[in-house]
């Protein structure tokens, strides 16, 4: 089966969110990912990238590498896998305590929803720490 692999390296800053999402969305589109799934993937990558940009290197800055692989599964079906890598502080965002989403507006803390959304929006989500790098792997499939 046909597979492609591309990579983008950016300074992990909030300003580069637009560049990261532009890369992810245009590659997803090229791979045939439908609009709805592309947007879900973009929201998921936004959440994970913003975490890296906000915390990984604080108070300094560093590089975030976005590695993107796509593949074909059938006439219309396919998949995309995105690895977000940084060599900042070791941190597994997937271990965060999930927020209680049954609370009323007044009782709810305003944050903590990002990772919950990522888990819902993608088909596979993994964290690894290898050779001093935090690696988040996200996978999305379509029919």
């Amino acid at each position: 089966m046909e597979e492609t692999e591309k990579e983008l390296a950016v300074d992990a800053t909030l300003d580069n969110l637009v560049a990261v999402l532009g890369f992810v969305e245009s590659e997803a589109e090229k791979a045939g990912c439908p609009k709805k799934e592309t947007k879900q993937l973009a929201v998921a990558i936004e959440e994970l990238y913003v975490n890296v940009a906000s915390y990984a290197y604080m108070p300094a800055t560093g590089i975030c590498i976005v590695k993107l692989q796509t593949g074909v599964e059938s006439d219309t079906g396919g998949w995309i896998r995105i690895l977000l890598k940084d060599h900042g502080k070791k941190f597994n965002p997937l271990l965060q305590e999930p927020p209680d989403i049954s609370l009323s507006a007044d009782d709810r803390p305003v944050g903590g929803l990002g990772i919950l959304m990522v888990k819902e929006l993608v088909d596979r989500l993994e964290y690894m720490y290898e050779n001093g790098e935090n690696i988040l792997s996200v996978e999305k499939h379509w029919q």
């Binding site: 637009v18 879900q40 507006a105 007044d106 929803l113 919950l116 819902e120």
Partner: protein, 100 residues
């Protein structure tokens, strides 16, 4: 994202166009902090042209809801499109917001 604001007496309407993402959410909160405190008893958030909401956007929305609750006013969210409603569903926001 574009925010169009219309104030009619004690009723404030904000229409969002584009993406309510991490870059846009702080300016929405900032704008609402200023506008809602100025005698607003009903706040209408029109999301008909908003097709993308990140968690930072949800934060801005819940902050507005909390603010309206503290002002003993009402907040209505209207014209929400399907993809955005899915995000509200998965985060429990469908239960705490009032839709029209």
């Amino acid at each position: 994202m574009e925010m169009t604001v219309n104030k009619n007496g004690a009723e404030l309407t904000m229409k969002l166009s584009g993406r309510l993402d991490t870059l846009a959410a702080p300016s929405m909160t900032e704008k609402l902090d200023e506008l809602l405190a100025d005698g607003v008893s009903k706040f209408v958030l029109d999301m008909g042209d908003c097709d993308y909401v990140a968690s930072s956007g949800l934060r801005a929305i819940i902050s507005a809801q909390k603010k309206m609750n503290s002002l003993q006013g009402t907040m209505i969210v209207k014209n929400v499109i399907g993809d955005v409603m899915e995000v509200f569903d998965m985060t429990g926001f469908s239960d705490i917001l009032t839709f029209e």
